[in-house]
């Protein structure tokens, strides 16, 4: 029989809450972390709102040393280290001098330290390459975040970074799961992070996929599933989960937040309607179906879905894919929510931050509300009953949650969480 994989630690950095407790409170309240940034206006951005976690200098120093912070200019690595170390500590693990050969990390990102990269390019163009110092490489190599975490925590198993656009976080969780199931590691710290700000978001602004209609009303700008959705709101942050084999967790009497039953990762090949930016619907449905099969559950076992649902005008296509993959619709469709209404689309960090929200829902029996969709789109209402898109906090026993992410490159990920009962 396959090894069972449980979640024994959580960490999160999001614009509406830094740390698990603050984040949990925010998502229960439906609190937005989206703000207006005048500097984006100054730079000529159409969308000048976003979700940027505010990390104080004091908080930084609880995680990184003065030496590590010297010439440090990386939001992605900072968020990743905070979330990763929080997950480590909440798992009841300590930081030792010894190497832990049984624990590794798959910690994903889309870019590493885009601000540091810019700083380096400016210096090079200014004929000051020597001024890059010793840490430009460590910060800008894509595996920077896993390398930092590996050193901070003394990880001796696989230490790597994955990257698959907006599926990154969900894929990292599945990669860590696979490694534990295969017997190569007892524990895998999994998650993802994303840079934020002008130099990451510029390309999206140019693609016109961001909303430009809410610069005066940032907190209502991210409107997944709404008839008035007008593009996504970009965000940054990180999410982390400590995955552990059930035997290992039981042996050390760890707190278990939930079980990861399994999942599936696939791609649509940019065929059959799929492209660099648009998913192949058949592949999306296959991904969901195979995740359910891999987890050994039935569609009717799902108590709630955490969707990808970004707030472009195509959210109804995702809902249709869920209804067809599960063969459930109307009032038989499970309640579905999306965190993006509160923190925007955190890009490569999205899957991990949203998975932390899933595990919190599972562990404490609630479904967080969707905000900014008081006007659900007609295309969605034609597929599922309005009560299945909760606009208020629901307190209800939750046993199984399905979570999916989809990304540029026509890549998909779907994972299934279950309440752990001893």
């Amino acid at each position: 029989m396959n090894k069972r994989v449980v979640i024994t630690g959580l960490g999160v950095v999001a614009s509406n809450g830094i740390g698990v407790e603050a984040f949990k409170k925010a998502i229960k309240q439906g609190r937005s972390g989206i703000k207006y940034f005048p500097y984006l206006k100054e730079l000529g951005f159409s969308c000048c709102i976003g979700g940027i976690p505010e990390i104080s200098e004091e908080l930084k120093r609880e995680y990184l040393s003065e030496l590590q912070l010297r010439n440090f200019n990386s939001n992605s690595i900072l968020y990743g280290c905070i979330a990763g170390m929080d997950a480590w500590h909440s798992a009841g693990l300590t930081i030792d001098e010894e190497v832990d050969y049984n624990t590794g990390t798959v910690f994903g990102t889309g870019t590493s330290s885009v601000d540091k990269f810019r700083e380096s390019i400016i210096k090079i163009d200014d004929h000051k390459v020597k001024r890059l110092g010793s840490t430009a490489v460590a910060q800008t190599m894509v595996s920077g975040v896993s390398a930092y975490l590996g050193g901070l925590l003394g990880l001796g198993n696989q230490v790597t970074t994955n990257s698959s656009a907006c599926t990154t976080g969900t894929e990292a969780i599945m990669m860590g799961y696979d490694r534990i199931v295969a017997g190569h590691a007892d524990r895998m710290l999994v998650g993802s992070c994303s840079d934020d700000g002008a130099y990451l978001w510029g390309g999206f602004d140019a693609m016109r996929v961001l909303t430009y209609k809410h610069n005066d009303s940032p907190t209502i700008g991210s409107r997944p599933m709404s008839a008035t959705a007008s593009g996504f709101v970009p965000g940054g942050g990180a999410g982390a989960l400590m995955l552990e084999s059930l035997e290992s967790a039981l042996a050390r009497d760890a707190t278990i937040y939930g079980e990861l039953l399994g999942g599936h990762i696939n791609a649509g090949g940019q065929r059959n309607g799929g492209s660099m930016t648009i998913p192949n619907d058949h592949a999306v449905q296959q991904c969901i179906k195979k995740a359910i099969q891999n987890a050994g559950i039935k569609p009717t076992d799902i108590d709630t879905i955490n969707g990808h649902l970004t707030a472009t005008k195509n959210d109804h296509v995702e809902i249709r894919n869920w209804t067809e993959a599960l063969d459930l619709s109307g009032d038989k469709f499970p309640p579905i929510n999306t965190l993006k209404s509160m923190v925007g689309h955190c890009l490569s960090a999205a899957g991990a931050i949203e998975s932390v929200a899933c595990v919190l829902q599972l562990n404490e029996d609630f479904i967080f509300p969707n905000v900014n969709c008081e006007d659900i789109s007609q295309e969605i209402l034609a597929l599922v009953h309005q009560d299945q898109i909760p606009r208020q906090l629901i307190n209800r026993k939750i046993n199984i949650i399905a979570k999916a992410s989809f990304g540029f490159g026509d890549v998909n990920g779907c994972i299934i969480f279950k309440k752990y009962l001893s």
């Binding site: 159409s46 140019a206 693609m207 016109r208 430009y212 492209s275 660099m276 930016t277 648009i278």
Partner: protein, 86 residues
């Protein structure tokens, strides 16, 4: 500056050429041609078409105008109004 409509359609045809995925619709391009439904231009590429139009006519196309530029007819209107404004 004014440009005859026939000439403008011809110029627009040259601009969209690299992005089209339906040669037949392209060969028959008229004022009623839709960029996505007829020419099968990937929706993500529409912004590149707009940039190429901006470069060709040295105009700035605002967000609201851009949203309407999903077919030849609307694009001609926007181009003409922006050229006149220059």
């Amino acid at each position: 500056m004014t440009i005859p409509k026939d000439q403008l359609i011809k110029e627009l045809k040259d601009i969209v050429k690299p992005y089209i995925q339906n040669q037949e619709a392209y060969d028959n391009l008229s004022e009623n041609t839709d960029f996505i439904n007829d020419l099968k231009i990937n929706s993500a590429n529409l912004v590149d078409v707009i940039l190429d139009i901006e470069d060709k006519y040295e105009i700035d196309i605002d967000n609201d105008s851009m949203e309407s530029m999903i077919n030849v007819k609307n694009s001609l209107e926007v181009i003409l109004s922006k050229i006149k404004a220059v």
